[in-house]
């Protein structure tokens, strides 16, 4: 058990801090939340800055154009950028954390050369076409069809909850290529160009009033067979690599941010007098414990992943990531519930950042695998309980 850092890791942290200090003040201000083209430009400029400084694809393997950093270095990167108040990964999320790692792991040399450099440079944005109106938690029941026609697939169907669809260049798409095969064995992974004829994007309004995601309708869209990553009908396995990344360090930066919000809550409560309420104080104290432990759990999972990578595993987070995701999503909601109590009536004004966060936090126990699905995973894969229904 050792939570200290090596000389190399401390040097890495120092260099990064210096770079952030120099770079962040020169960044343009953040655009309005609903101006998607401006947000895309902003997120891409940040990614370009990271790229030019040698921080793009830090955790990607070298053969994919990444820096081949250790999981510990990647965690330092997440911690330091968050602490410094750097922009979020934003529109680059799918490219850097889902589609990119999938292509790096499963793509051909030509596919890697075509798609990975633009992701790392912040030139191209990816979105995710997995869920469908009739395939949510039961993703393997997806029905979007891809029928082979010469050297193309003809794709028809619809996708839902697709974040950044309006500004994306590419979509990592799961399609059914063999309707007669068992559900998990008839799925393929395609890269869909969002400007292809037959693609229609309809933004969805969230309960927060924002348009973060969209429905994507596919009407006989022609996709070259060379845009398929992995073997035909092997898309489920190809995808699972990606999904476990999502539950690994994807939320690590947010834990740092939540921890800082908690400090701000204490300051605000002290200023407006609510600090005198011992029930509220104790609630904030318990949240402090939760987020302290969640950060330690991130470090624990990171070290497990690092060990797996050293000993020949793929370094992808295992079922332990479900434990983290389950608790973190609840804790985040509890944090913004506490924030509403600190704010009192002001919390009913949606211009307040914490109110916006309280609303958006409601998606956390649903997105990326609902809490119920996470509990199923823990019960069956970690605890070894019999498969239930």
């Amino acid at each position: 058990m050792d939570l200290t850092f090596t000389k190399e890791e401390e040097d890495f942290r120092d260099r990064l801090r210096t770079w952030l200090q120099d770079t962040l003040p020169r960044l343009p201000p953040e655009p309005p939340a609903d101006d998607w083209p401006a947000r895309r430009a902003h997120d891409c400029a940040w990614q370009r800055a990271l790229h030019d400084a040698g921080y793009a694809g830090l955790h990607w393997p070298a053969h994919a154009g990444g820096q081949g950093a250790t999981p510990t270095e990647y965690l330092i990167f997440i911690e330091e950028t968050e602490r410094a108040g750097a922009p979020y990964v934003g529109a680059n999320f799918v490219g850097l954390l889902h589609a990119g790692p999938t292509i790096a792991a499963e793509g051909t040399a030509a596919q890697r050369a075509r798609w990975l450099p633009p992701i790392l440079r912040g030139d191209e944005i990816w979105c995710q076409g997995f869920s469908e109106p009739e395939a949510g938690s039961d993703l393997a029941s997806l029905r979007t069809r891809a029928v082979r026609d010469g050297d193309s697939y003809i794709v028809t169907g619809s996708k839902i909850w697709t974040s950044h669809a309006e500004v994306a260049d590419w979509c990592e798409l799961l399609v059914r290529t063999d309707p007669s095969a068992p559900r998990h064995r008839g799925i393929s992974w395609l890269a869909l160009p969002m400007n292809a004829p037959g693609v229609t994007v309809r933004p969805l309004r969230t309960l927060a009033g924002t348009t973060e995601f969209a429905e994507v309708f596919l009407d006989e869209v022609r996709v070259p067979v060379t845009y398929r990553v992995g073997l035909e009908n092997d898309g489920w396995r190809v995808t699972m690599v990606t999904l476990s990344y999502e539950r690994g360090t994807a939320f690590a930066g947010e834990v740092v941010a939540c921890r800082r919000t908690l400090t701000s809550l204490a300051r605000t409560a002290r200023a407006n007098g609510r600090w005198d309420d011992p029930v509220l104080r104790r609630r904030l104290g318990r949240l402090h414990a939760e987020f302290t432990a969640l950060w330690r759990l991130v470090q624990w999972n990171t070290c497990e992943a690092a060990h797996a990578a050293r000993t020949g595993g793929d370094g992808a987070p295992g079922a332990g990531a479900s434990v983290f995701k389950l608790r973190y999503s609840q804790a985040r909601q509890e944090l913004y519930e506490a924030a509403a109590e600190v704010l009192g009536p002001e919390s009913l004004d949606t211009r307040h950042e914490w109110t916006a966060q309280r609303l958006s936090s409601l998606s956390y126990t649903i997105a990326a695998g609902t809490s119920q699905i996470q509990r199923n995973i823990i019960a069956e894969r970690i605890l070894g309980l019999p498969r239930g229904r």
């Binding site: 058990m1 050792d2 939570l3 090596t6 510990t72 410094a84 108040g85 800082r260 400090t263 701000s264 809550l265 204490a266 300051r267 605000t268 002290r270 200023a271 407006n272 011992p278 104080r281 104790r282 609630r283 904030l284 104290g285 318990r286 402090h288 414990a289 939760e290 302290t292 432990a293 969640l294 330690r296 759990l297 470090q299 624990w300 990171t302 070290c303 060990h307 332990g320 434990v323 389950l326 608790r327 002001e346 004004d349 211009r351 307040h352 950042e353 914490w354 119920q372 996470q374 509990r375 199923n376 823990i378 019960a379 069956e380 605890l383 070894g384 309980l385 019999p386 498969r387 239930g388």
Partner: protein, 352 residues
């Protein structure tokens, strides 16, 4: 950074588990729980075996007859003790090693108090560690009864393997009955809270195992009850509590000095919750069996209740953690995130 256990740490933990399996099997726990005369005094033979294995002297230097190991190793041993529900004033005797002759070797038992309240194994102890002031004090007592200076009355202990007295007062310094020893009482209190948390952690993981094992083997409606999501989800939440507590407890064992106080408070708070709530859920998974004396679940629950009140209660931990936030808030640097959202909104209101 490698948070995982080293090979030596794994070996140490396995050694402790083996020792307890041999010297303190489940039948022993059950016979203690069924003692007709109430909770018995610690088994001196077992106490000595623990002493020989280095359980109490673990953190003393090799010169002083110890193993020269640290809190992370101690935490692993106490986690095993908590898992097996090993009774006795383990924390106090461990802390007394080097301060009370015989404690390090397991030749005597030492209990401890940081305030008036419940004291475990008081009647059989050779010494009481008093941690209510700045410097630690030792009250030597002759086994056989509670020392008069503490004005204690025996309780009928809810934990049937831990005899309890309720102490009404601690001798005020400079009361001649207690002698000052060269140790910082607040440091010992923090370590006591951490090692108690480690015991709770062991119990929390054990009740996960008990619940999962029962859910796999008990059938209703023609299938194991563990195949029902309602039961699966109880078990999953139990594991989440235990894993979160483990991350907190192990990390706190690495945080040295007073600045580790918040980490220890978090560890104690989460480990207490994990032990007590896991025991409750384990009881629920066991159905009617869980309400019987024969099932081990109630022993975990009652020990959990006892431990959660020791050293740092939930209220104390939460207040400490809240105050740490406030302390941080007064040191917030200016930066993109330093301004409160409230300030921003107020500014907007002015212009609106």
């Amino acid at each position: 950074m490698d948070f995982r256990l080293t090979d030596d740490q794994r070996a140490l933990r396995a050694g402790m588990r083996g020792l307890l399996a041999a010297r303190y099997p489940r039948e022993r726990l059950r016979s203690l729980a069924d003692s007709p005369g109430g909770p018995p005094a610690p088994d001196r033979g077992l106490w000595q075996a623990l002493g020989e294995a280095g359980f109490f002297a673990l953190r003393l230097t090799e010169q002083d007859g110890g193993a020269g190991l640290g809190l992370p190793e101690a935490v692993l041993l106490f986690e095993e003790a908590g898992r097996a529900l090993l009774p006795g004033p383990l924390v106090a005797t461990h802390l007394a090693a080097g301060l009370v002759p015989g404690a390090a070797e397991g030749a005597c038992t030492v209990t401890a108090l940081d305030r008036p309240g419940p004291a475990e194994h008081l009647a059989s102890a050779e010494a009481v560690l008093l941690l209510d002031g700045r410097a630690a004090r030792v009250l030597r007592v002759s086994p056989g009864g509670a020392p008069r200076a503490l004005r204690a009355r025996p309780a009928r202990s809810v934990d049937s393997t831990t005899p309890l007295h309720l102490v009404r007062q601690l001798p005020r310094p400079p009361d001649g009955s207690a002698t000052t020893v060269p140790a910082d009482a607040s440091r010992l209190c923090r370590e006591a809270a951490l090692l108690t948390a480690a015991q709770q952690l062991g119990s929390a993981f054990r009740t996960v195992e008990l619940a999962v094992s029962y859910a796999r083997n008990r059938s209703q409606f023609g299938r194991p009850v563990g195949a029902f999501q309602a039961v699966q989800h109880l078990c999953a939440e139990m594991l989440v509590r235990a894993e979160l507590a483990r991350a907190a407890v192990y990390a706190a064992s690495l945080a040295t000095g007073p600045e580790g106080a918040a980490e220890i408070a978090a560890a104690k708070l989460l480990a207490d919750s994990a032990a007590v709530r896991n025991a409750r859920d384990c009881l629920q998974v066991h159905g009617g069996q869980g309400f019987t004396w024969e099932a081990d679940v109630h022993l975990h629950l009652k020990r959990g209740w006892l431990r959660e009140g020791q050293w740092q209660s939930a209220a104390e931990s939460e207040e400490l953690l809240a105050n740490t936030l406030l302390h941080e808030a007064s040191h917030l640097p200016d930066g993109p995130h330093a301004s409160d959202a409230t300030d921003v909104l107020d500014a907007e209101n002015v212009t609106a």
